[in-house]
Amino acid sequence: MSADHDQSPGAGRLGPRLVAVVLLALGLLIFVQTFSIRQGGGYSAIGPRFFPLLVAIGLLLLSGLFLARTTIRPDEDLMQQSADEEAATHWPTVGLVALALVVYAVALGPLGYILATVLFFPVVARFLGSTRPVRDIIIALVISVVIYEGFTRALGVRLPAGLLQGIV
């Protein structure tokens, strides 16, 4: 639980600054990577590097400006919003949901669509505050079976059967 605590004047500065640094790094990455694009032979006036270079330089300039707006000339509205967000954020929930997502993606193939979903849905619902696991499992079972049967039989879209191969 995060209560609204008193905000110091510098509250909420760190987040936007980190964003600015990440954006700068992305701009730099695009810039460097641009030079590993092979220039096609041929006679076209503008090769495959032109637009990437434009985007890289543009992003570097913009993220530089953004960094300035978080340090030298801070954008007070944004800092206020960032401080409010920080006070309201419960990071463990975000982390757990993200972790569950990655496990879900990896498990879809080996476990199969139905099993992976029956595991994923109640777990994420629990992370998001549900207190009725039995109900959640039943819902997950119904949703996943309906989707699996509907997609593979009625719509002709293939989904992995996984461990339940031969049963469903």
Partner: protein, 512 residues
């Protein structure tokens, strides 16, 4: 070509039992998903895209049109009862709509939104019927330079006119442009920014981007604040209908909203946010009941809702005739065309005339179905709002994963989508608009191809973009869109007054 004859043929297609059924399924699904809080039409269409993979194109597009319109109708219910706009074009509706619901007039607000949407949708479809073929004829004259100028206009107007910060809008756009560059460059055959992933050779799928940014980004954002935010659903008291007085106050805003919404949606200038806010402020200015504003004035729901629906229909004009999507939702519709190897553009009307006219005819039919779904049956949809948030967002994540996984049964696609979802989470957190990213991804390949084509026609002469009157005009319009929001502040400063606000803002909030 004979428009009426084509339209009649279109109705013959759309009224076949199968297509009627598909339209009914489309509008129902669209409303169902559109009602869910936090889900707007763009995500609705993206999530339901896999459902149509194995249909014949005409049927699939009829269903899609239903989903597209249904998502919009459903969204207004959420805006009014929950104060949660599914997308930025619904923000204007929440301002008065939620107040009406709180003071016990939610029924009237829902009714004026549904009837207004129906009237705007029908008039706009009528306008599409007659305007689109004309635009398609004109578009045949467009050269690559003009197309490039159009993409620039779309980039600039979406970025500059929406959101609170131009800088953050531009950053969002450039992130999208970068993602749009990934994959094999069509003209030279070189791979760019694939980071060794073969899945990225074909470029990054717009469905992956949209579902990641909208669904996963939103779900993570809600997860982060779950222990902090509380939502209330306002119960509906009384009937869902309007009094004579409310009818009298609604019909002019409906028509004005339509007239504002359609042309602004049809111009390649960035979707539905601007017209809804224009309509809101116009109605506020014209209203004889000024004291009610802020406490639930029905004009403030009737006007923006009509404008919203009309603009959504208007967006179909550049999409069908130029192949130019000007909103996130339209960008995903473009993907639907590409799945069927159809390239929207001037030739679509001659090459796939039965599809286009079947689609247009189904828009008329869909609007009638939606009016029925959203007035007598509205109470069913309201029940959906009572789904606990935990189950709702767990379900959204399941469907988001399904939507992306079913593209190619590939885990990497899903992981890329989640990564984009994390980006979307931080964008929401620090108030970066998401729309420019989506537009950047979808339009970058088009912009680059047309730019290079224009230069190879002009033999490398950059002046081609300013010597052609058409492309020069479009580029000047783009410049105007960039400068316009700063104009009031600039004028105030020139007059020696202290400006009240830095720049005009047309749309705030989330646009998914």
């Amino acid at each position: 070509m004979d428009v009426l004859g084509n339209l009649l043929a279109g109705f013959a297609t759309a009224l076949s039992p199968t297509n009627l059924l598909l339209a009914a399924i489309g509008v129902t699904l669209g409303t169902l998903v559109g009602v869910l809080p936090g889900i707007g039409p763009a995500l609705t269409v993206a999530l339901l895209l896999p459902l149509t993979y194995n249909f014949d194109p005409v049927g699939a597009f009829i269903m899609f049109a239903g989903i597209y319109y249904g998502g919009m109708y459903g969204g207004s219910t959420t805006s009014i009862l929950l104060n949660t706009p599914g997308e930025s074009a619904s923000v204007a509706t929440t301002l008065e709509g939620f107040q009406m619901a709180k003071s016990g007039r939610g029924g009237a607000a829902l009714a004026t939104a549904a009837i207004g949407s129906f009237i705007a949708g029908t008039i706009s479809t009528l306008l599409i019927t007659f305007v689109a073929p004309v635009v398609a004829d004109v578009a045949l004259l467009f050269q690559p330079a003009d197309y490039f100028a159009l993409t620039v206009l779309a980039f600039v107007s979406v970025t500059a006119l929406v959101g609170r910060s131009l800088l953050r809008g531009l950053i969002s756009l450039f992130i999208g442009l970068f993602m749009g560059l990934m994959g094999i460059d069509v003209l030279s055959g070189q791979t760019r920014f694939t980071f060794g992933l073969p899945q990225l050779l074909d470029g990054i799928d717009i469905v992956v981007v949209a579902v990641g940014l909208f669904a996963v980004g939103e779900a993570l954002y809600v997860a982060s604040r779950l222990r902090h935010d509380r939502e209330e659903i306002v119960p509906i008291r009384g009937s869902i209908w309007m009094t004579r007085e409310e009818w009298r106050r609604s019909w002019r805003p409906w028509l004005r909203g339509t007239l504002i919404g359609f042309p602004l949606g049809a111009l390649p200038a960035g979707g539905a946010e601007i017209p809804t806010f224009l309509s809101y402020s116009l109605e506020k200015r014209l209203s004889k009941h000024k004291a009610e504003w802020g406490r639930g004035a029905i004009e403030g729901v009737a006007g923006p809702e009509a404008a919203n629906n009309a603009a959504f229909s208007g967006v179909l004009v550049p999409l069908l005739t130029l192949g130019l999507p000007t909103s996130a939702t339209a960008a995903i519709l473009l993907v639907a065309f590409q799945i069927y190897n159809l390239q929207p553009g001037p030739l679509l009307f001659t090459n796939a005339s039965d599809l286009v006219w079947g689609l247009i005819a189904s828009l008329y039919i869909g609007n009638v179905m939606l009016l029925i779904l959203n007035l007598p049956l509205i109470r069913i949809w309201i029940k959906i709002l009572a789904i606990p948030r935990s189950l709702l967002y767990a379900g959204i994540l399941v469907f988001a994963t399904l939507g992306v996984y079913s593209i190619a049964n590939d885990m990497i696609d899903v992981l890329v989508m989640y990564a984009i979802g994390v980006v979307g989470f931080f964008m929401r957190r620090y108030d970066f608009p998401v729309g420019p990213t989506v537009l950047g991804v979808i339009l970058m390949p088009l912009a680059e191809a047309q730019f290079r084509r224009a230069l190879s026609i002009s033999q490398g002469n950059l002046a081609v973009f300013v010597t052609r009157p058409l492309s020069l005009t479009i580029l000047l319009a783009a410049l105007a869109a960039l400068v316009l929001p700063y104009l009031p502040a600039l004028i105030a400063r020139l007059r020696g007054q202290h400006p009240q606000q830095g720049r005009l803002v047309f749309g705030e909030g989330k646009e998914d």
